[in-house]
Structure formats: structure tokens, C-alpha cells
């Protein structure tokens, strides 16, 4: 189904390393947050990006938006490598790509009114627009995200987490983007509010033909919203497939372990099927293991896994995986 759709984004060999520490006399160490990821995104789809905390999924999202300068790799947006653009050339693409944040508290400037926050994108990209038009536009946007238009003159602290998140969404929509990185947009919200926000995001996607990169660690929510799902581990994508395929026929041992860890809301079932957590800890991204990054924790690891990194390739139609034994 996705084959005949147009590619919006092609990520090729994307890497982002941060240097930390270091001073006059000691060398800084390198955190390999994103360590070579490849995937495509199609117009109008939602790609879920899941993984443990610290596996580099947020860094990946932000690097794609050029909020971090990539260490290596290409980010083709409609065929143009935006990683090579200058800051000035990038401004045009900023209108097409936006981000929604995890923390609805730190993502809104407490000193600005909601109207100023939402109309900021307009004052940057359309300085010729009159103030009145901007306010009217902000009101329209507030209605789009199911908020009262009279909120334009209020300050962020007067709102609840869910309302703030919707203000953040309104700000992202102000430039009429095509592509939105949703950086764990619901994980800081109450469960009842999560459903509202996700429904809103789905409605907006349908109305405005948006493409989402949906970063999360809540696997059931990802299954609900995504068309395809990518699983990240220690800066690399280990598996990527259509939603139902990956949830029903996971190939990679890590994906299998993740899926087994989803809590089931049924006490009787939960009692008879205790969750088997993965052994061990995520290795440090400063000094990742040789060979397959998952090998130290993998129950099926063989000698080759400790020596040689597996190739990330298409194991079944539209089902990519990086494992020696799949």
C-alpha cells in the first residue's frame, strides 16, 4: 500500500554524536546518540518511533528537524538534502516541518500570552501580516484544537496540561506544516487527556494531510496511531514494519521483549503470565558494545553477534530488521 505513495522524507545513514565533558587537558568523550539510521517517510502516514529512554529517539527527531546539526548522513526532504542547507536556506523548510513537545510546561514561554505564542510563527514568517489578522488567525487556530478563542489574552499558567499541549499543537500548526515530529506528546498527560489529544491529532492529520513522526514509549498508543512502527535500540533502528506486522510477527529479539513487556489490563491474565523483563541494562552510548548492540542482553546471542554488527535489511516485504538470525 505504501509503495505507490510519494516519499516525503528519506533518512540515510543519519548520525548524531555529542561530545561531553573534556577540558583543556582531557579529551571529551563521544555520546553516540544516533548511530546510523535509515528510513523513509511517506506523505500522510504516521511512523511510530519507539524505544527505551535514552535510546536516541528524541535526538533522531530533533536532528531530522535540524535542531541539532547531524554528524553524518542525509535528510532528503522532497529530494532536497536539508542537512546541507545554510541557516537562511533552512528557514523556508522550517515552515514545512514542526515539532510538538513532551513537556507541556516547559514548552510554552510563561511570559507570553497564548495569542503571542501561537502567532509567533506568523510574526517570523509573515511579518507583513497585521496584528489584528494575527490575532484573528490565532483565534481560528485555537478553535481548530478545540479551545476557546477567547484564550488569546491568557497566560500559559492558567491552563491544564492537556490544554497547554493543545496550545503547543496550535503553535506548530500555525505555519501550516506538512510534517510534524511528535516528541512523546502524550506521555506527560493523564490517561483520559491522552485519548483526547491523540484523537485531536488524528483529526488534524486527516484534515490537514499531516505526516507524523510519532516518538513514544507507550506501545499500545503507538499501535493505535501509527501506520508503521520503527523500534530503536541504542541509537540504531533494529526493526521497522507495518503496524500489524510488527505487533503480530516481530522478528527482532528486542522487539519481542518489548512487546512482551506491555502490561495487560486483566489481573487474571497478568497473574498467570508474569512479565519477563529483559536482563541487564542498556549499554552506555559512550562506549557501545562491539558487534550487535543488543548482544549483551540478547537471549539468543551467538559468538558472531559479539563480533559483527548485523546488517539492517529488508527481511520480508516492507519488513526491515537488523539481526543475524532472522
Amino acid at each position: 500500500m505504501l509503495d505507490n505513495q510519494k516519499k516525503l522524507l528519506e533518512i540515510k545513514g543519519l548520525k548524531k554524536h555529542f561530545s561531553v565533558g573534556g577540558g583543556l587537558f582531557n579529551k571529551p568523550s563521544l555520546v553516540q546518540a544516533v548511530n546510523g539510521i535509515d528510513f523513509d517517510m511517506y506523505h500522510g502516514e504516521t511512523l511510530g518511533l519507539v524505544g527505551e529512554s535514552g535510546c536516541g529517539k528524541s535526538t533522531a527527531g530533533r536532528t531530522i528537524l535540524q535542531l541539532y546539526k547531524p554528524t553524518a548522513g542525509e535528510i532528503l526532504y522532497d529530494g532536497v538534502d536539508i542537512a546541507k542547507l545554510s541557516r537562511e536556506e533552512m528557514v523556508a523548510y522550517r515552515k514545512k516541518m514542526q515539532i510538538i513537545f513532551q513537556d507541556p510546561y516547559s514548552s510554552l514561554n510563561p511570559r507570553l500570552t497564548v495569542g503571542s505564542i501561537i502567532s509567533e510563527p506568523l510574526s517570523i514568517h509573515h511579518p507583513e501580516m497585521s496584528k489584528q489578522d494575527r490575532i484573528d488567525f490565532s483565534k481560528e487556530l485555537l478553535m481548530k484544537v478545540n479551545l476557546d478563542p477567547s484564550f488569546v489574552n491568557r497566560y500559559p499558567h492558567e491552563f491544564s496540561g492537556g490544554q497547554r499541549q493543545r496550545i503547543g499543537i496550535a503553535r506548530a500548526l500555525a505555519v501550516d506544516p506538512e510534517f510534524i515530529v511528535c516528541d512523546e506528546p502524550i506521555s506527560a498527560l493523564d490517561v483520559s487527556v491522552q485519548a483526547q489529544v491523540v484523537t485531536l491529532m488524528e483529526d488534524l492529520q486527516a484534515k490537514m494531510n499531516l505526516t507524523y513522526l510519532f516518538i513514544a514509549h507507550d506501545l499500545s498508543m503507538v499501535r493505535h496511531i501509527s501506520n508503521r512502527v520503527a523500534v530503536m535500540y541504542l541509537g540504531k533502528i533494529v526493526e521497522l514494519a507495518d503496524r500489524d506486522e510488527i505487533y503480530e510477527h516481530p522478528l527482532h529479539p528486542y522487539t519481542k521483549a518489548l512487546l512482551k513487556a506491555i502490561p495487560v489490563p486483566d489481573p487474571v491474565y497478568a497473574e498467570s503470565h508474569p512479565i519477563q523483563p529483559l536482563e541487564g541494562e542498556v549499554p552506555s552510548p559512550i562506549n557501545p558494545p562491539k558487534g550487535c548492540y543488543f548482544s549483551p542482553r540478547c537471549p539468543y546471542a551467538k559468538p558472531i553477534c559479539l563480533e559483527e554488527a548485523p546488517v539492517y535489511e529488508e527481511k520480508a516485504p516492507n519488513h526491515f530488521c537488523a539481526c543475524h538470525f532472522v
Binding site: I124, E128, M129, G168
Partner: protein, 299 residues
Amino acid sequence: MNETVTDVQDISLAAEGIGVQLRSNAKITWEKFLQHKLAVISSLFLILLVALCFLAPLIAPYEFDAIDLMNIRKAPSLAHLLGTDALGRDLLTRLLYGGRISITIGLTAALLGTVVGTMIGSIAGYFGHWVDNLLMRLTDLAYSIPTLPLIIVISSYTDTQALGIVLIIGLFSWMQTARVVRGAILSVKENEYVTAARALGAKDRLIIIRHVLPNISNSIIVGATLGVGNAIITESSLSFLGLGVSPPTPTWGNMLMDSQATMSSQPWLTIFPGMAILLTVLCVNFIGDGLQDALDPTI
């Protein structure tokens, strides 16, 4: 959306629109400031004080350098409301004249120090990396220079008028502000609204002015209010060393210094200039308090 955007071409209209918004924001702040009683009283008092000082030639009962050797070190009386000094000069008159210089130096030197410190601190904190290193080492360097000897050297080469003293004090008092501002910015710039602004394509200057500085205004205001007191005191030290404003022109600082020897026998010579400095600094602090509250939308 694109249609509405291309429709609007009237730039003068846009400029007018921005003006309206600025006024309304300022109006909210102003209304909140007026609710802060202490700050309003302090402002009125300070305005009165400034007015009296600058109108000194019109309202002062005597000349500031009118020596009256028959009436030296007289206690406050009807003829001399605040008494007279060692040369029989009227203290009230000298206090009014002295306020002109002391208040001017206090406010302008503190303003200069705050502006320079905020600029250096925000550039260092926001851009980080080598810019931060360079500017902060420069700050350390400026800190490590003993200010007083340097000021002595500089002022011995220059004609120390009030303006010169403002520049000297202002340019040697920015380091504290720079460090505090840098530290505050390091934490504020991690907020996601800063990332959001970058994702929208905002320029660094806009991000600093619109998103970062308003959120650290508290530290800046505290620094500035402390700076006013410091500047007045520094001016008095300079006067004491004969490097400040030279006699017979009075300043609160040099009046305070002159009265040191007679503090126990003629306390009014110390108390009144001291009170003048105290009240001014206190007023500035209260105004700063009111400003902080007025600028904070959550209060």
C-alpha cells in the same frame, strides 16, 4: 492561510498593529505595578527627591559653598533645618546639591553596568562553547583587576567629571551581572519553548530578547538595584581619596566621608547624608520588587 497572508500588504498597518500590542502589554504591566503599594510610594518619593535635588538652585535656602564661620557645626535649627558643617555651610542645601550628582551617578552607572553585564552574560550563556569561554575568562580577568588602583590610575589621567565617574564605575561593575545572567540563561535556554522558537526559524537575537531575557528579568533587576547602592558608595570612596567629584561640590558620598571624624559629637552630619543614601537605595529596591511582580504574569 496563504491567501490571507498575501492579501495583507500594508506595512504601515502592520507597524501600527505591533504598536497596539506593545502598548497593551505595557498597560497590563503598568496596572500591576500600580497595585504594588510600596513600589508606588517609593517611586513617588524618589521622583520627589530627584525633583527637589534638581531644583536645588531655586529652592535651597543658601548657596552650597556659602561659608559662614560664625555658625560652624550647628545642630539643626530653624535657620539651618539640618544643621551646618565644619565650614558653616548649610547641610540641607548641600544635601540637595549633592543629591544631583549622587543620584545621577547611582542610577546611570548601575544602568550602564547592568546593560553591559546583561549583554556579555547573555551572549556567553546563550551561545556557549568558545564564545562562553572567551567572555567568561574576560570577566574573570576584569574581576581579578583590583578596581580601586585602576580607577585611581585612570582618573589621574582624565578630568574626573561626573560623566567620567559614571563611565568608570559602570565599566567596572558589570562582572557580577554578567555571571548571574549567564548562569540564569544556561538554565532558561534548556526550556522547550526556546527549542520551539528555533524550530520556527526564529533568529538568535529574537530568541534572546523575546524568550530568554524576560524569563531572567528577576536576576537582572536584583543586580541593577544592588548596583545603584554600590555605585553611590564607590563614588564616595573615590571622593574620599580625592578622585571623585572634587570639593567644594558636594556629593552624598563626600559629605559622609567628611563627617567621619565628628560622628559622635555632631551626628547630624553623618545621619542626614547616610539617610539620603539609604532612602534612595531602599526606594530603588522597592521599585525593583514592584517591577519583578509586575513583569511576572503568574503573580
